[in-house]
Amino acid sequence: MVRARVKAGNDAPPARRFSPGDPVRVADREAVGHCRTPWYLRGKAGVVAAIQGRFRNPEMLAYHKPGLPALTLYKVRFRQNQLWDRYAGPACDQLEVDIFEHWLEPPK
């Protein structure tokens, strides 16, 4: 059957920009097309919770490009009361989202 997304092999270079525990900020820029970074997180600060592996770039795959080299995908954790001005729940509530490396920056 069709294999639209194939996990990249181990031959991809291991270098990655961030490690678990690192504070990061989601790039605050616009994107046209098939982008997997939600709008509500643009410009928001979070912390790398885990490395999810390397995956082909969905922004290229959607347009029949190979999406290589594969990008590191990070699980990023955000505090809910830092995402929403009037968050109703307690301070312990969090949100986790998988974000590709090219959308993450060091905090300002």
């Binding site: 969905p58 929403w84 989202v97």
Partner: protein, 223 residues
């Protein structure tokens, strides 16, 4: 018998037409995406990329997946600590050991509810869902209301599902944005000591594995 005939006519309103009361499933004009799907499918078959049999086989695979499959996995995790450990560490491999092939389209992650954390799954960008374990998602999972409100007001959404999470328990929302699909491993309900895997699995509904419900113990006899 004569009475019966009269009774039928007294009771039955006859001012309808003679079309069958249930509409044909594809009555009315095709939508744009239906046209697109049929066109692409026809082309794939005509060009020899796929056969009609392969497409039908894939539909069968999808139909074989349902929340009952996920519930069996959860019940095994509750009764087999080694399996649970593997399930949380390498979901794909643990499911393969259990006889479930999740395919190559996405990776899976099981996230564990504990006394300190309650997990809930959403996909704000589209409707990413662990179909290969739970089958087709419910319609509400794909609704704009669930998708937009769950990230901003998860406790409010959970309350509407009848789930109240105490304020000293973290609510952790997982927005599935990329190549991973999330499934909640709920906490085993109290009052189920000594229950069989089958009895335990009966407490695990689809919503328990999305995070919008909690498993509830019913008596083993009723389970």
């Amino acid at each position: 018998m004569h009475d019966h005939h009269d009774h039928d006519h007294d009771d039955h309103d006859h001012d309808h037409g003679h079309a069958p009361p249930q509409k044909d499933h594809d009555a009315g004009p095709m939508g744009a995406y239906e046209v697109l799907e049929e066109a692409v499918r026809s082309l794939l078959i005509d060009k020899g990329v796929l056969t009609a049999q392969e497409i039908a086989a894939q539909v069968d695979v999808m139909d074989s997946r349902s929340p009952a499959l996920g519930a069996k996995v959860v019940a095994r995790a509750w009764t087999d600590a080694a399996f649970k450990k593997r399930l949380l560490a390498d979901t794909r491999a643990a499911l393969a050991d259990f006889g479930i092939d999740i395919g190559t389209l996405a990776e899976f992650r099981m996230v564990e509810n504990t006394a300190r954390v309650h997990n809930v799954i959403v996909c704000t960008l589209c409707s990413c869902y662990p179909k290969m374990l739970l089958g087709i998602p419910p319609a509400w999972y794909k609704s704009l209301a669930y998708r937009s409100r769950t990230v901003a007001d998860p406790r409010g959404v959970l309350a509407e599902f009848g789930v109240e999470i105490p304020n000293d328990v973290e609510v952790r929302v997982h927005d599935s944005t990329a190549d991973l699909r999330y499934i909640v491993l709920p906490m085993r309900p109290k009052g189920t000591k000594g229950w069989s895997e089958e009895q335990l699995a009966a407490t695990v509904t689809r919503d328990c594995m999305i995070g919008t419900a909690l498993p509830r113990a019913r008596s083993p006899a009723a389970a």
